[in-house]
Amino acid sequence: MRGGSIYIERSSGLHRLHPLTKVALTALCFASAAALPGLPWLLALFVGLLLPLAIWGRLTGAFLKACLLVVGPFVLSLTIIQGFFSGGETVLFNLGRFVFTQEGLLAGLTFAARLLVALGGTLLLMQSTPQPHLMQALTERGFPPRIAYVVLTAIQIFPSFQDRAQVIMDAQQARGLELQSGLLNRARLLLPMVGPLILGSVMDVSERAMALEARAFSSPARKTSLNTLADSLLQRALRWLLALAAAALLLWRLWSALQ
């Protein structure tokens, strides 16, 4: 993992794919999450496509762990809420006046599975693609470099922001601020902690902007890249196929809804 990104360095076929091919795959995952009709289809997509891709990318453990960490709480909350409140005929159990139904459970699990598929696609993209390469691929296709820069730095600079917060915390403690006591006291002490962090960051913005200008950020020249992103005819064709499949799925879903 580098900076605040979740990229994991590996030597794999998935890592070597052009970032836009993986973006197209992610788009297909989002379209599938929105369009596929039921739990078996969604789980089949996860097990039949995303999991093999994670194995191919030598990311199985990290991929499954991240899926579990993010989707796990949703599975729990969604099944409880849907199970108790979305109604249904088949009662599984009662909790006082509240009835937990099989239909509700299925609805909750289906919703969680949709999240799992969409998140799985995004995770594979982010864990196997260095963010600078993703932004390079996008800017080469006309994505505004300024927006790409903002997105990238927000990801990369986050750990440094955490370091600064730690320095302020240490400095305030050195001046006698008691941070270890109860929750109420901690909430009261938030201002002396957050204040310097925000003010310091705002002051840094000006120097950061100057440093960017010194690095010719607003130069009228057409930007080039140190690294060439490997691409191929096959991948370009695959991207079109994935994009068409995503569009077809969404159209099919729309058509089904209108019927």
Partner: protein, 272 residues
């Protein structure tokens, strides 16, 4: 190359001028040191010489301010960036945050200038070697020390090969070896490529050794200008809060001489 004539500058919303009728002419291939106590106007002068005043900071200006005969206000910062480089005191804020490795970080400015890959690679290798950080090339710029980050910031600007290099206290986070590396690299650039180097610095010994000319500021005014020997050995430096080199201090205590040495070499001769 860069010329200020009775140039004054006020930051937005201030009544007191940060630079007050400063006249300074800088020629190609000069190595100039700027000295002054804190708040003397060193950073503002650096910003003016690199075009950030008035382009980045709006404020009010008076007097003449030209780069290669053209009014600085009529030039664009994006175009100036390829000709004038600026290195700041705080290394952390100079890391773009948009690249994974030091090599890519140095490439950031070159990519913005639209250079081809081969030229970028050659310039990056040269810049890494100049500031002696070849071993950091594949590291993350966020995983190195403050001093190493400062060397990366300097290398990033050096790789852009500007005609003028302005550095605002660039060695404040460097150890003696790092400081020596930076001064040696800058001196080499001046002698081999005729690059103009303008350096605001408190480490007077280094300025005395490497600079052709020293400019002393106080309260936003230009108080003294001349050879390092003439400026740094004067009594005025004590009044301005600039201080003296350790060699001048030692000689002032040990010798009865009007002409204080400012470098180690001069001190050695004087003490013989």
């Amino acid at each position: 190359m860069i010329e200020l004539k009775k140039f004054s500058y006020w930051y937005p919303g201030t009544e007191q001028s940060a630079l007050d009728r400063v006249s300074l002419s800088i020629a190609e291939g000069e190595f100039i040191g700027i000295v002054g106590a804190n708040g003397a106007g060193k950073s503002t002068l650096c910003y003016a010489l690199s075009g950030f005043v008035p382009h980045f900071y709006n404020g009010e200006t008076e007097g003449q301010h030209t780069f290669n005969g053209q009014d600085m206000a009529s030039l664009d910062l994006g175009q100036l960036a390829g000709q004038v480089g600026l290195v700041f005191q705080n290394p952390f804020n100079q890391i773009s945050g948009a690249r994974f490795t030091v090599r890519e970080e140095i490439a950031f400015g070159l990519e913005n200038l639209g250079l081809p890959q081969n030229e970028m690679r050659a310039r990056i290798d040269e810049a890494l070697e100049l500031v002696n950080i070849q071993d950091l090339a594949e590291r993350s710029p966020f995983s190195v020390s403050g001093g190493q980050q400062q060397r990366i910031a300097i290398a990033s600007i050096l790789a852009m090969q500007p005609r003028v290099l302005v550095l605002d206290e660039p060695t404040s986070q460097l150890d003696p070896d790092g400081t020596r590396d930076v001064f040696t690299a800058l001196s080499k650039l001046v002698s081999t490529r005729k690059i103009t180097v303008i350096l605001a610095e408190h480490k007077l010994e280094w300025l005395a050794t490497f600079c052709d000319r020293v400019v002393a500021l106080g309260g936003g005014k230009l108080r003294a200008e001349g050879s390092p020997q003439a400026v740094l050995s004067s009594e005025q430096m004590l009044r301005l809060g600039v201080g003296r080199t350790q060699y001048s201090e030692a000689a002032a205590r040990l010798l009865r001489t009007k002409q204080l040495p400012v470098t180690l070499e001069q001190a050695r001769k004087a003490l013989k």
